[in-house]
């Protein structure tokens, strides 16, 4: 799958995609990571033929999605926050409908529906309408619907957004299995943990641009490998600590403060830790906590964008419906 310099502007002003490029080798998973409004969903909509890009090129399994959309639709599966299932139909009827519209013959689609319901642990609920399904069951059926035609290329657009932790972990294991079967997968997510867990490669997007890419560990290495994190009693003390620690770490930019927490990025953890203790002691600054830890993707995001990913990601959750249309997402 290739996205090459995709640009998409809404209403002439909002740049949802501002030259997004990435490539996903066959059989691998790319995590498109970013807050709401970063352009993740727009990228998925372009690659799944739902939206025409203003410029740039996009192809799936070697098929140009703009030039040959109908051929592209034959190799893709789409699930997630925008693709949907029919609430008035039963689980089985939903899968049979998708099978029929994928032009599987009657016997094949019935077999496929039964297999998928079984695989996604929905056999007991197969003949109930979706009105009785829980959020997690609905997402599993949505994913099953995307798999009916055994597409070699799969798009999962925020597959676990809005799910409770238990359902999220269930869905993760289902997705891991899929990936082991050799499906090429584009996964968008606001959850750093999700990308870390499922993706081979991660593209961090913000304001319609890819601002970083690499494996989870490569992105973490960008922060210098290890973090020394000092927790102080208040912001004022923390500011004083930043002054005391100037010059510690790998370069002049290594010391960062967030509220009453000061973080020092370093390649040499233990030595820096000792230096931090010595400096704070010399300055007479008492601290409440001190730890040496590996950076999380949250730290990466904060360092790359200047704002936290979760901060941007939590706000939209209070909206009444996940499925509400918003052009920029």
């Amino acid at each position: 799958m290739v996205a090459d310099s995709l640009v998409k502007t809404f209403n002439g002003t909002v740049k949802a995609l501002d030259g997004v490029s990435f490539e996903i080798p066959q059989g691998t998973v790319l995590g498109l990571l970013g807050p709401n409004g970063a352009g993740k969903t727009t990228a998925v909509r372009v690659l799944t033929t739902l939206l025409k890009p203003d410029s740039g090129r996009a192809s799936v399994a070697g098929i140009d999605v703009v030039a040959r959309p109908q051929a592209a639709r034959r190799v893709i599966g789409l699930a997630g926050q925008y693709a949907a299932v029919d609430e008035a139909l039963t689980g089985r009827e939903n899968l049979l409908l998708v099978g029929s519209l994928n032009h599987l013959d009657r016997r094949a689609r019935q077999q496929r529906a039964t297999d998928l319901l079984d695989r996604f642990d929905l056999s007991d609920a197969a003949d109930r309408t979706l009105k009785t399904y829980s959020g997690g069951m609905r997402r599993r059926l949505d994913l099953a619907a995307a798999l009916v035609a055994r597409p070699p290329v799969l798009f999962l657009d925020e597959p676990t957004t809005g799910l409770d932790p238990r359902s999220r972990i269930d869905l993760w294991s289902v997705i891991s299995d899929l990936v082991n079967d050799g499906t090429t997968l584009l996964l968008t997510t606001q959850y750093l943990e999700e990308a870390d867990r499922l993706a081979d490669q991660i593209c961090v997007v913000d304001h319609g641009r890819v601002i970083a890419e690499g494996t989870a560990s490569e992105l973490k290495d960008r922060l210098g490998g290890t973090l020394v994190e000092v927790t102080l009693d208040d912001d004022g003390l923390a500011a004083a600590a930043v002054g005391a620690l100037s010059g510690v770490g790998d370069d002049h930019d290594s010391v960062k403060r967030e509220g009453s927490v000061v973080r020092v990025a370093t390649a040499t953890g233990p030595a820096t830790l000792t230096e931090v203790v010595r400096r704070l002691d010399a300055a007479g600054i008492e601290f409440a906590g001190l730890q040496l830890r590996q950076p999380s993707l949250d730290d990466v995001f904060l360092a790359l964008t200047g704002h936290a990913a979760e901060e941007a990601a939590t706000a939209p959750k209070s909206k009444p419906s996940r499925r509400q249309k918003e052009p920029v997402s």
């Binding site: 739902l50 639709r73 599966g77 299932v85 029919d86 008035a88 519209l101 994928n102 055994r150 509400q324």
Partner: protein, 278 residues
């Protein structure tokens, strides 16, 4: 080597028909699971039937020897058909809002099947609704002059209803939700169905209103169905009831209206459906 390579291209006529049938089946199933919706759609025409048959009907003049209930039911039937057609707009707006249309767009199905399946299902539901309304009509005294005339009238009406579905479908392709479809169509549908010959002869209306009422499509279709079910009338009555037009002329005009509305709004709706994606 995947099954997708083995699947034939979807542009063949056979797949188009199979996709249309699949979508019609899905839509019909949805309608059957929400019978309350169908009942509510029929509730107001049934109340109008009773209201005009028993409350206002006795005061309506200008029909000569024609029984008012025989005059009324064709009008009610056309009104019912138009209101029922509204579901095309509501359901499309709902499917779009819930992301279901996006799923369909990502499938290798015939693009025309979404609209075709919608208007087919709503026309089937219209056939059922008309059957019920006519049955209610018969219960309160409606006696069509001839059964073939009634059947022909119903077919004509279903054709018109199908065309009307495309008007609502077009609105449904733009509106963001069901309420918007309602708000956008009501101001048009209301005057068209009431400033017509549905309940009273247009000859009793002021001349400016009559000029509109006599020539707008809803009146034409009502008059065509009425002429088919009421049977022979004197030339004076024809002047009074049908603005002097012959039955065959009314039928042909109705067909042309249905064809014109279907073509114009159908192609606009298809264009809208295709324009919003690749």
């Amino acid at each position: 080597m995947t099954t997708s390579e083995l699947r034939p291209a979807s542009n063949s006529l056979r797949w188009t028909i199979s996709d249309c049938l699949a979508m019609t089946g899905r839509n019909v199933r949805r309608l059957m699971r929400a019978p309350d919706q169908v009942v509510f759609t029929l509730l107001s025409p049934i109340m109008f039937t009773l209201l005009f048959r028993y409350v206002f009907g006795g005061a309506i003049r200008g029909l000569g020897n024609i029984n008012y209930v025989n005059y009324l039911i064709p009008g009610i039937a056309v009104q019912t058909a138009i209101f029922t057609a509204g579901n095309s707009g509501f359901a499309l707006a709902e499917d779009r809002g819930k992301g279901f249309i996006d799923r369909l767009r990502s499938l290798p199905m015939a693009r025309s099947a979404v609209l075709a399946g919608r208007v087919s299902a709503d026309t089937l539901s219209n056939a059922v609704g008309l059957f019920i309304i006519i049955a209610v009509g018969v219960a309160v005294g409606f006696r069509p002059e001839s059964i073939p005339g009634l059947l022909l009238g119903v077919l004509l009406l279903l054709g018109f209803a199908l065309a009307t579905c495309f008007i609502f479908a077009l609105v449904g392709m733009y509106a963001s939700n069901v309420q918007t479809v309602n708000a956008a169509t009501f101001p048009v549908i209301f005057p068209l169905t009431f400033a017509s010959s549905a309940f009273v002869p247009t000859s009793t209306m002021p001349s400016w209103l009559r000029a509109f009422a006599d020539h707008q499509p809803v009146t034409i279709v009502i008059n065509a169905v009425r002429a088919l079910t009421i049977g022979n009338v004197s030339s004076a009555q024809r002047e009074q009831l049908f603005a002097g037009q012959s039955t065959s002329s009314l039928v042909i005009q109705s067909l042309l209206w249905a064809l014109g509305i279907g073509l114009v709004f159908g192609s606009l709706a298809v264009r809208r459906y295709n324009s919003t994606s690749i």
